[in-house]
């Protein structure tokens, strides 16, 4: 038998002595004559047993209260020496020798607390100097040191060292340190709560004050609106007059031009220069084809001619009406007609506000969202200018003449009224925004005592080898490559997501940038007590699901002195 078994000789429970009594593995209630038969594994085993016996005797009685291996002190009364043992679930009663005999008799595993025989057994490590604990009995003698007092590995050959004292010391140190941090952190937290209270009061009164101001502003806006409307009425009338005059002028010019064109066309069509345009002469202009078969048939031409074979310059006028939209001058056959169409449209000078492609509120919004580099958004914003350019190029030489001086005066007056009005309206909007922002802030759940208020509108960064992570509590989480590249949204504020007993131990940020074939990115922020406020780590445990650790005094619990002494209790 390997000597490794020697050191494990301390079987704290001793039964009335037969020579193989310590070796629980093969104990049986069978007569003593058969007992060693069961130890049939051979002489090795018996040598081991003898050595074990000697070792145990030489050590003397252990200090601990006698109880079967693996049984906690609290359960000791159920394991009465030399009396039949009833499984703790009451399912069965067995001889006491069958307790810890390395065979599972009880369904609840209670007969084998010190061996691995039962699939559901629990082994108790006393762990003097540290915390007592239960381990699954499958970890007994599996070659892995689980209990710091080494008691789980009494027969496996595993070289375990008793580390309980060291662990206890380390734990006390940690607890001590934690206690200090908690203490200081908790003080800070009190301040935070105070500040938050104060800040909240201030904000509330500010909102009230702003509400009053807002009212005044609204009145001012209304007043200015009236002024503006009053000034715009004469302006509109003057403009309309001007426009009408221009329209008439344009119509006259167009008429003259049309006549000239008609004359030109007549000359062109009159191929034989006989002063008459005939059907056949008209047929040379295939573009006048009405049934779109590509040719101008004689019947079609005649139709255009008003049913006659030929027309003179006077009667051509009615023919011209029929053909002028389609007619291509032979001298400039390439020039398409559309140039003329815009002439019919009323060309507004670009002074009017309504045609302004960038309403102010939009551009403001964009300013606010400056860090949001949503690319689609940008593209949308850039689109209108390119569409606007062709309009400009369509302006022809027939630009509207400038307004007369008295109209100009009216316009300027109206413009001033408009400007005043807009300025006031803008101020009102800004005021509204401010109120909304403060109200929004006030609506956040900043913790039971508003201790998280101070995190609002702050951002915390953590730099890793490749990225800079940025947490803006109650707002958003992002990741930016250190060496170029755009920022990725790892989620915007969702909710508190801690455990039921304290939801304020973790924050959830959701709906970040989507992942390829995966979910949208999201981040969980775990909060722990600290003297400072900082981001301490980030990771991506699952694809696109990030985890951050964040320390803040705001989660520090009131230190309790009981904590430390409670641990002291367990040391025996």
């Amino acid at each position: 038998m390997p000597t490794r078994h020697l050191k494990d000789g301390v079987n704290v429970y001793q039964t009335a002595g037969k020579k193989c009594k310590f070796f629980k593995l093969f104990r049986s209630r069978a007569s003593s004559g058969t007992q060693c038969l069961f130890l049939h594994l051979g002489i090795m085993t018996c040598v081991h047993l003898l050595l074990t016996l000697v070792f145990a005797v030489s050590l003397g009685t252990p200090v601990e209260v006698h109880r079967p291996r693996g049984v906690p002190l609290s359960k000791k009364p159920f394991y009465e020496e030399n009396k039949p043992f009833t499984c703790l679930d009451g399912s069965k009663t067995i001889l006491f020798d069958q307790v810890n005999d390395d065979y599972c008799d009880c369904k609840d595993g209670s007969d084998e607390p010190g061996t691995a025989a039962c699939p559901n057994g629990k082994f108790h490590c006393t762990n003097a100097g540290y915390k007592p604990t239960f381990i699954p009995s499958s970890r007994i003698n599996d070659g892995i040191c689980d209990c710091c007092d080494t008691t789980d590995e009494y027969n496996s050959g595993a070289k375990c060292e008793n580390t309980c004292k060291e662990l206890g010391r380390k734990e006390r140190e940690v607890l001590q340190k934690m206690a200090e941090i908690t203490k200081e952190g908790f003080l800070l937290k009190q301040q935070l709560i105070e500040e938050a209270k104060k800040g909240r009061g201030e904000k509330q009164s500010k909102v009230t004050e702003m509400q009053d101001n807002k009212k005044q502003l609204e009145e001012k806006v209304e007043a200015l609106r009236t002024v503006k409307e009053t000034a715009e009425q004469p302006e509109r009338e003057a403009k309309e007059r001007h426009l009408k005059a221009w329209e008439e002028q344009k119509a006259a010019i167009r008429l003259v031009k049309d006549k000239a064109k008609m004359a030109e066309a007549f000359l062109e069509l009159d191929d034989n220069a006989d002063g008459l345009v005939s059907v056949s002469e008209l047929q040379s202009h295939a573009e006048l084809d009405s049934d779109t078969d590509g040719t101008l048939s004689e019947a079609e031409a005649k139709g255009l001619m008003g049913g006659v074979e030929q027309v003179d310059t006077a009667t051509f006028e009615s023919v011209w009406e029929n053909i002028k939209d389609k007619y291509h001058s032979e001298s400039q056959p390439e020039e398409p007609a559309p140039v003329e169409t815009p002439v019919d449209e009323v060309k507004e000078p670009v002074v009017d506000n309504e045609s302004e492609p960038y309403p102010e509120d939009i551009s403001e919004e964009e300013d606010e969202d400056d860090d949001d580099d949503d690319e689609y958004h940008e593209e949308d914003e850039k689109a209108p200018p390119t569409m606007k350019t062709p309009e400009k190029s369509q302006e022809d030489e027939e630009a509207m003449p400038p307004y007369e001086a008295d109209t100009q005066v009216l316009i300027e007056a109206a413009q001033k009224a408009r400007d005043d009005f807009e300025e006031a309206e803008k101020a009102l909007r800004e005021m509204d925004d401010q109120i909304r922002n403060i109200e929004k802030e006030l609506s956040f759940d900043f913790g039971p005592n508003a201790e998280f208020t101070y995190l609002y509108s702050q951002c915390y960064e953590l730099s890793t080898s490749e990225y800079i992570y940025r947490l803006c509590p109650f707002n958003r989480v992002s990741q930016k490559p250190k060496f170029g590249g755009s920022e990725t949204n790892l989620g915007t504020w969702g909710s508190w997501s801690g455990p039921e007993n304290n939801k304020y131990l973790s924050m959830k940020y959701e709906h970040g940038t989507g992942c390829w074939q995966g979910p949208n990115r999201s981040t969980t922020v775990k909060l722990t007590c600290g003297k400072e406020t900082m981001l301490t780590s980030t990771s991506e445990p699952s694809r696109c699901e990030y985890l951050m650790e964040f320390i803040t005094p705001a989660v520090c619990q009131e230190p309790s002195n009981i904590d430390l002494s409670a641990h002291g209790h367990t040391e025996l």
């Binding site: 049939h40 039949p84 009663t93 970890r139 070659g143 991506e540 699952s542 699901e545």
Partner: protein
Amino acid sequence: MQMTAVVELCFVLLLFLLFVSAQAVDRSNFKTCDQSSFCKRQRELKPGQSPYRALLDTLELSDSRLTLQLINDNNKVRLLLELYRLQGNMTRVKINELKPIKPRYEVPDVLISDPITEALSVVSQDDNSLVLSLGGNEQRLIVSAQPFRLDIIEGPQVLMSLNSRGLLAFEHLRVRKDTISHKISSTVGSMWDSIKSVFSSNSESEETTGQQKEEQPTSEDGQIKEEEEEKPGMWEETFKSHSDSKPNGPSSISLDFSLPGVEHVYGIPEHADTLRLKSTENSDPYRLYNLDVFQYELHNPMALYGAVPVLISHSTERTMGIFWLNAAETWVDISSNSPDTVSSDAPQTNVRWVSESGIIDVFIMLGPKPADVFTQYASLTGTQSFPPLSALAYHQCRWNYNDQEDVKAVDQGFDEHDIPYDFIWLDIEHADGKRYFTWDPIKFPTPKDMLKGLMDKRRKLVAIVDPHIRVDSGYRIHNEIRSKNFYVKNKDGGDYEGWCWPGNSGYPDFTNPEMRAWWASMFAYDQYEGSMENQYIWNDMNEPSVFNGPEVTMHKDAVHGVWEHRDVHNLYGLYVQKATSEGLIQRSGGVERPFVLTRAFFAGSQRYGAVWTGDNAAEWGHLKISIPMCLSLGLVGISFCGADVGGFFKHPSAELLVRWYQAGAYQPFFRAHAHIDTPRREPWLFGPENTALIREAVRQRYALLPYWYQLFYNAHNTGQPVMRPLWVEYPAEVITFSIEDEYLIGKDLLVHPVTDEGATGVTAYLPGKGEVWYDVHSLQKHDGDQSLYIPVTMSSIPVFQRGGSIICRKERIRRSSSCMENDPYTLYVALNPQGFAEGELYIDDFHTFNYQKSKQFIHRRLSFSNNSLTSRNLAPDAQFSTESWIERIVVIGGSRPSSVSLISADGVESALEFEFSSNPAVLTVRKPSVSAAADWTVVLRREQFINVYKHLGVRKLGDFWVNYLFKRKDSDWSIFNEKRKLKSAM
């Protein structure tokens, strides 16, 4: 994170360069038969008169080899037929060109040795035929001269015919006529010329060259020219944007086999298809061409990651096999004469093999029983490697465990949730920039600490090492391969490069034995920095996968030494695993058994480790198909097979994940794996109920590890598959021939996993007239030869133990299989109606070659008959000591004994305690406490019991308490103990 960026980059590449659709396989990335010019050419040939004629006067017969020339009457090209009779009831048929203008590839390294031949003799001969004796059983081989065909007969019965449909076609090598000068001046051509000159100076005499000259003019009728030039794709072929330069021109081969009386054929993996092969008359043929198929489709003859060109036929009369030893792209057409076709009333299956290059080299395995075919095939290509026990336990994998802390946390998670596992796996992200053999310095800065941490828990790790090597002058592995000139070459002679995970990559030429030796040496602990003895290896992407190559693999005109990639393609993956596995053996000085997982494989890959079914998906259909896919592999020698538990792509529902664990726990290779883009799915992330269900499934696996281990030992020694279709054990029960939703593990456990969503029951077929099966959970008895409806809940895994078997379990489930090494056994003795049962127990050190080198093992036969259970030594010359003992014997299906006693090797008898329940009839014998290594007998005595029953009050029995027990009919332990308490109190 960094990972995110790199992976996204990779996927963007994948997505845009290769896979237009991200949803499922993009079939257009892979060739159909019509798009593969040789397949198209060959498939255009219709059955009919074969142009081949055997020239019987060229017959040469030595003791074990017969040769004969065949002539193609259309083009006068001569072939050489070689016939061998092989030991173990096999026939080998080789056909090559008699005088090829350059050598044709013959697959090396797949056969474990030159097969042992047996004497062939001519029984009779006439003008048109030749009858050869194949030894006993009246087996004859008939060679018919015109048209050429071979028939193997036994007595009056034809077992198999070759070229009976006249589809033998051999595209002889030829010189390209139109651009002859161009061809000769090309690099490859001149290389071939030099090889050819070496070859001819060695083996060809003047006479033969003379003959060649003589023959060519005789074929001036123009037919050669017509045939050579007419068909498209002979000298160049394009697929999508890739072109194949085909410097050697057409070289494909084809042969047909007819199997009279056969309706069921199996094998030729790997396909995501039914166990029983389908007729391909209305579809593409089954394709064998190792490919990295993204999100593969089910029930499709498309090629997948591996190829084993072995087809097994089975009928109630006979089981046979055809092993087509060719590593080039191969297509297999299957058709059958069902009774409605005019030709004949007897069923017949026709199989036609077509390969792109090489020679015809076929092994015909004549059975007659399934076990004989497995033995025959194992004698050719070897058996399953015997894995370390831990490799048969549970494996936890994910692409990717992010860093050392993650590995530690997952390891801890298994302990916290009390779920055993043996291996945790690291995918490609663990390496520094996908430079295999290295570690990411930020995520895995101290790999040895990590490995040591796992070792302290008696657990192990697998890291991936793929065969694509990042082209990077700062990477030692690349520099060495380049400087040693070990890379595969492109058609122009430079190093072949392609895109894979690391970006631009080179591909080591694993067909080169020097390269393999060097590769193996890289696994030495001083070469592979950060590696330790509890680290094992996974070879992925070894088809090889080339993201920007044709069909996501290597160009066929790439060059391996003197051969084209075309010739060796299906063999590449085998070589990668072979070299890696040899590396692992060498690093331990030949002591430790290796464990290497591979995705690509070929015939013979069973010798080097495990395979898995590649990148499946979290879908019920993929769970279902895992059974026929692994069964097909088992039939052709590869027993160590599994599918990614949970499905690789996509996110499984909790129900699917649980069902997959339950199924995976009863498949040979048991590994959970997940794609990097899926949410985490460690077993405890689906709520406590599902955690408990998964824990239970994994624990059932660990309890049965002794049985799995013994079966793998058996597979290693005999070539019998571990996971078997029912028909293998019940070859006469036709109803079993198409069953693929249940199977046998060994011959004693029948498993019918639940593979349907929301299932409330399954219908299992229990085979064997007159046999009985016991539900392993309830121990209820069911008769064989019936379909049994079994209601199921989420915790059900329908498994049955065969009446007549003894299965050894270890019922103390611990953290890992290593922790359970010395634990005691419980024997489950399931009696057949005759009251008989037998089984085996195999024990060794579970991880070294000592079982082989120094016979350090225990192998015992356990048999139960005449009411005694005996453990007998099956290997008296072997020696091993174990601390394991027998803690419990459970006898199922017997009657109540009056006493149970143990008789030890020295004849001493002692009573054993026991309990008995009558419904179901289960006798549990408490603590025999004998060493698992010892001889012993446990006797159940019934006579005395009858005595007791007859004469109540008779005291004189083996033990003083027994009478108390047996006065009561329904006594149980508690009553017994009450009595005993009373007794001891007295």
